[in-house]
């Protein structure tokens, strides 16, 4: 009975700990930024850290928990970014309340990306391993390239759509072009800020973590560990694969919403396989299935290239050498040992544990 209680609390405890650390980091950064102790460089990266973290933990759901290699994650980010920016631009004069409009934009980004996750998942999840990686890569590129040639505008007659150029939209004089092909969407209201981004990161983390520690999450991990055995105990393989994949896509969509509402212009070319690989690097570096690790890796690797700018031409060279070194040594036995003995969680755990014992004694 006692053992069960401990188990129940374990995932909740771990969630609380992670959220606590995120809030502490948030408070420190926010104080630094408002009191002017932060460089402009870092200030500009605050939201980026959050959306890259969301991308990383959402991809970790596919790669680490479902055990399927996806190289098209940026495609879902792209869908989230474009649909939500499109919505915000159309509604900017209709819905005055920023909070309501942005919340709706987030929902729309997440749901559309999630729907694409289901559609693509149904098609590609029949494959696995290298084959799946190649097909997801292709889908990511397709999404990027299709959005690269789409022109959408609206006037008093309603929406106009073209895959040629702006002129072929035949807009009236009052018409506005929203998606301009390769130029993407510009002038999206910049509703994203550090606070909202952190809240969304915490929500995304809670959703994934709670999912993993639930009945459905166990089914997903069972499929990862042994598909045949999972089938033999009556687990619907297709259902849970698609569920995990589309949840991962929907959360990538949320990251996309933050992305497009943080900068002036979104262009689909930014969401190529370079971005997908980068997200995968966060996941691999942070450890497969390790959500905290993904977030830490995303934050460090977002900041690192910016701080290496003084190296000029050698920047990316040094960056990649650092990556290789971290990959080699991060999961070395000695390093794992060191992390265990210097773990922040254990430190807090021992302090709390001592208090508990003292209370019991008293």
């Amino acid at each position: 009975m006692k053992a069960k209680l401990l188990n129940m609390n374990k995932s909740t405890r771990s969630n609380l700990f992670t959220v606590g650390v995120i809030v502490i980091v948030y408070t420190v950064f926010q104080t630094m930024s408002t009191t002017g102790n932060m460089s402009n460089l870092l200030k500009n990266l605050l939201v980026a850290m959050c959306y890259y973290s969301i991308m990383a933990i959402s991809l970790n759901l596919t790669v680490g928990i479902l055990g399927q290699l996806s190289l098209g994650h940026a495609g879902f980010v792209c869908i989230g970014a474009f649909t939500s920016a499109f919505f915000s631009k159309i509604m900017v004069n209709t819905i005055d309340n920023t909070i309501i409009r942005f919340s709706l934009a987030i929902l729309i980004g997440a749901i559309t990306a999630g729907i694409f996750g289901v559609i693509i998942g149904v098609i590609v999840l029949r494959l696995s391993g290298d084959y799946l990686a190649i097909v997801t890569l292709a889908f990511g590129e397709i999404i990027k390239n299709v959005l690269n040639v789409i022109y959408i505008g609206y006037d008093s007659n309603g929406l106009a759509f073209s895959m040629e150029d702006t002129a072929s939209l035949n807009l009236m004089e009052d018409g506005v072009v929203i998606i301009k092909g390769a130029q993407g969407i510009s002038g999206t209201p910049r509703n994203a800020n550090f606070t909202i981004a952190v809240i969304l990161l915490i929500l995304a983390y809670m959703i994934i973590s709670n999912f993993i520690n639930s009945r459905s999450g166990r089914a997903v991990m069972a499929i990862r560990d042994n598909r045949i055995a999972a089938e033999s105990v009556g687990i619907n393989i297709t259902k849970y694969k698609i569920l995990a994949f589309s949840l991962s896509a929907a959360l990538a969509g949320v990251a996309g919403v933050l992305y497009s509402h943080n900068i002036a212009t979104v262009q689909s070319t930014k969401f190529g396989y370079n971005m997908s690989i980068m997200i995968l690097v966060y996941v691999v570096l942070g450890g497969m299935g390790n959500l905290r690790g993904s977030m830490i890796a995303a934050v460090i690797l977002t900041v690192l290239p910016e701080y290496l700018r003084f190296l000029r031409d050698y920047r990316m060279l040094i960056y990649s050498i650092v990556l290789i070194a971290v990959m080699l040594y991060n999961w070395a036995p000695a390093c794992i040992e060191w992390r265990k003995s210097h773990s922040l969680k254990d430190l807090i755990g021992t302090v709390v544990g001592k208090n508990r014992k003292e209370k019991k004694g008293a």
Partner: protein, 252 residues
């Protein structure tokens, strides 16, 4: 009352008749042994019964319900659970979670209530833990609950597979060489556990085994398979003394 009734089951791979007109009838609560030399088609029979392979011909009835040609998932839901010859555990999950995966269709709550941690999540998860511990206790694994499945010693991994299969609340259990690779004392423990779970759950068991001490010790009936067809069928004492069976095992 017949639990499992199989008639003329057969499958061929290319020109090879791996299993040919296999018929068996197992009564409710009975413990049946399926033996035969290597390559006789024993595991293929299991794969046919559990839907991993679709039979070319024949019929499988589980407590009167026709389960021929259903998927492994549907067959499990119909009440048939199995273990594997080469252990297939969820290696990176804890022992407890392995059993809880087995409870997947028995005790349910929605994905949404799992993500939002609604009261139904806590309540159901608690019940799942209790049920899982019950099953683990029958197999003497309750002290391993927190360990990863992959870190268990070999004998306990085999027992965990049985526990996971039991968690799906089956009417019938298929055990594929449960004692393979076990030392004599582990085998004794296993025999005791099997006897015990029959007492508790009243479950019908069909098991493949090479350990004749185990087969003769606990099976009520034995079916001998050779080259995909029936060689003998009956009580252990008469089957194991059958000259045909001895010939098949040891040669002339």
């Amino acid at each position: 009352m017949e639990m499992l009734s199989v008639k003329n089951l057969g499958i061929s791979f290319g020109g090879l008749h791996a299993v040919d007109s296999f018929s068996i009838s197992i009564k409710k609560g009975e413990l049946y042994g399926l033996i035969g030399p290597n390559g006789a088609g024993k595991t293929t029979v299991f794969n046919l019964l559990t839907g991993v392979y679709k039979p070319d011909m024949g019929q499988i009835l589980l407590e009167g319900q026709n389960i021929t040609g259903l998927s492994p998932i549907e067959i499990n839901k119909a009440g048939m659970a199995r273990t594997f010859q080469n252990i297939r555990l969820f290696d990176n999950l804890s022992v407890l979670d392995n059993v809880k995966v087995g409870l997947h269709n028995e005790i349910r709550y929605s994905t949404i209530s799992g993500i939002l941690r609604l009261p139904s999540y806590r309540k159901t998860e608690k019940r799942m833990n209790e049920e899982a511990y019950k099953v683990l206790e029958v197999l003497g694994l309750e002290n391993e609950a927190k360990n990863l499945a992959t870190n268990l010693p070999y004998g306990k991994q085999r027992k965990l597979e049985i526990a996971r299969a039991l968690a799906t609340n089956p009417k019938m259990l298929l055990l594929d060489e449960p004692a393979a690779g076990m030392n004599p004392s582990e085998t004794d423990e296993l025999m005791e556990a099997i006897t015990q779970l029959r007492e508790i759950y009243g479950i019908t068991i069909l098991l493949i085994e090479h350990d004749m001490k185990l087969v003769a010790g606990i099976c009520e009936n034995i079916f001998v398979l050779n080259f995909g067809t029936k060689l003998a069928n009956g009580a252990p004492s008469e089957v194991l003394n059958n000259p045909e069976v001895i010939k098949a095992y040891l040669g002339e």
